[in-house]
Symmetry: C2
Subunit: 330 residues, 2 copies
């Protein structure tokens, strides 16, 4: 177990050691800790596995187009979390002024971390948020043997009088990182999650990595069509690459922030909580102990970790992080 404050200090130093300034390191730390406290795999492991490396050709991001409601940000190879955090800030500011803000980003090629982080940050302040991310070719459309989509996640934040609900889900049946992990561990993939180079279902991660692909989450047309919508709205709409995305290093994000007051329902937050509770407390199917709302399990884990003030970190990861932190002299 590692005290959370010590983990934060050490992680900050390790991030600074990569070359990020104090302000940027704070943003990245926030995104990573959101995942780490929730026990998901988008956390501090990114620091020690080169997931935050600065691109040698990175330049400060630039707003290439702006209207009262919108902005387009060229990320200029800056780290993805920094670009999406800025996009979220801008969309939120516009929504505070006009009721709606929409910001697209392109030209980043590193992880943004969990979309839930960005959606929660504005939903906690009473705003609805919808976020899409496009990424390289790992996922095949229904019926195809070829990967075209990214894992194309959807993030949604909805405020309520009892706290925000945050949905953060890939439209793929499995994560790319999960396939790599399964290969390393010699594990099989879940049934229906992936296919070989001919488009035939396989549980062998080696066959997936050898020209195969992950499938979309229901293995059929509905989830594939959702993945396509995200591919379009976080791709062509925002100026991201439309093929060869891994080599182009130009992936896209779209975030929309909506002020619910625009719809004029005074009881929106109270009634949203009512619907959420109706689902949470619904009678269960046989064998089901609890119905969790989106994000709820992660929030409960984070709360428990924060209450304890310490968190379980895998020994190798913690040692590697400390080593990285020691290299930073600032």
């Amino acid at each position: 177990m590692v005290p959370i404050e010590e983990l934060k200090t050490t992680t900050t130093k390790a991030i600074r050691g990569i070359g990020y300034n104090e302000k940027d390191a704070k943003v990245i730390l926030d995104v990573l800790m959101y995942a780490q406290l929730r026990g998901n795999n988008q956390g501090i492991i990114k620091v020690t596995t080169n997931g935050l490396a600065m691109a040698p050709d990175a330049e400060p991001m630039v707003v290439t187009h702006e209207t009262k409601l919108s902005a387009a940000i060229d990320g200029k190879k800056t780290q993805g979390m920094l670009v999406l955090a800025e996009a979220t800030r801008v969309a939120h500011e516009k929504a505070k002024e006009h009721g709606f803000g929409i910001v697209g980003t392109c030209n980043t090629s590193t992880s943004t971390g969990a979309l839930g982080y960005y959606c929660k940050s504005v939903a906690d302040q009473g705003m609805i948020s919808i976020c899409f991310a496009q990424s390289p070719e790992f996922v095949a459309p229904a019926g195809s043997s070829k990967a075209i989509f990214g894992t194309n996640p959807i993030g949604v934040g909805i405020p309520s009088s009892e706290g925000a609900m945050v949905l953060d889900m890939a439209t793929s049946a499995y994560s790319w990182f999960g396939v790599l992990e399964a290969k390393t561990a010699g594990r099989e993939l879940p049934d229906g999650a992936a296919q070989d180079k001919n488009g035939v279902l396989t549980k062998d991660p080696n066959e997936v990595l050898d020209g195969g692909a992950i499938r979309t989450f229901d293995g059929g047309y509905k989830s594939s069509n959702l993945a396509l919508v995200i591919e379009l709205l976080a791709g062509p709409l925002v100026g991201a690459a439309i093929e060869g995305k891994l080599a182009a290093k130009n992936w896209g994000n779209l975030i929309m922030v909506i002020d619910p007051k625009m719809l004029g329902q005074a009881d929106f937050e109270k009634n949203a909580a009512f619907v959420m509770n109706r689902v949470r407390n619904a009678p269960k199917q046989p064998g089901v102990d609890a119905i969790n709302l989106p994000g709820e399990r992660g929030d409960a884990i984070a709360k428990a970790n924060e209450a304890k003030g310490e968190i379980d970190v895998e020994t190798n990861l913690w040692n590697n992080l400390k080593k990285a932190a020691e290299a930073f002299s600032g």
Copy 2:
């Protein structure tokens, strides 16, 4: 086979016979023909099965809240298609002026027909549209034995230089109408689509109608969470009922229209077409003949019907429609 023009004239008379004026009848005809020409079950059958009955307490719809980007419409029990068509028109006007428009509707309790109709109408004019509809308790959240959600469809329209792509999909695994049809025909439901009153999977439509529920489309948490998002954004956000929705006769819709020019990508429509073609022409899995984009199969059927100038209509339906039309003296 019935000539399409004769079908339109006869349907218009039958709609007028219910009591709709000429302008409203034209809107309803348009929505019905969109479905009918595509061979789906949201078409003219609604005329002869009381699906368009006017509520005795219906009043003209009212805008209860408005901002430069938004409006809230109280449908006042007016027919759902008329209310959502007006919402779409208003959202589109606002998007033309400001780049974005969002309109919520409540207090309708009749079908809006296919959401694709509304999304296509603005996507054909170069705008992105996203539409959600909430409806009565037919669908159970993942893990629950109780119906809480409606079939909660999603509509999305995305323009491209080779025509708009229109997604129109329920978040349920099956339609409520489909369950009723299966019961009448003595047919089984597809595996995994529905459950009995205890939440246990069943293929028997009678068990579904006896306190059971339809499941969401992937039978798991991802589609259930999407259904919940729609339940919130087309429910509490727009002032629709949050329980007892069938009795309350107060269902909700939300439509958003987004001008893609806000994101400043001159090649958006061309690049969107490129991505669509990349999916359409992707190498196929064994046994797959064609990969259809969302809405594409329906569009092809509609085009073929229009080229022939006539359409196959079931004899009983056609006779009932003619009878209904004869009753109209206008």
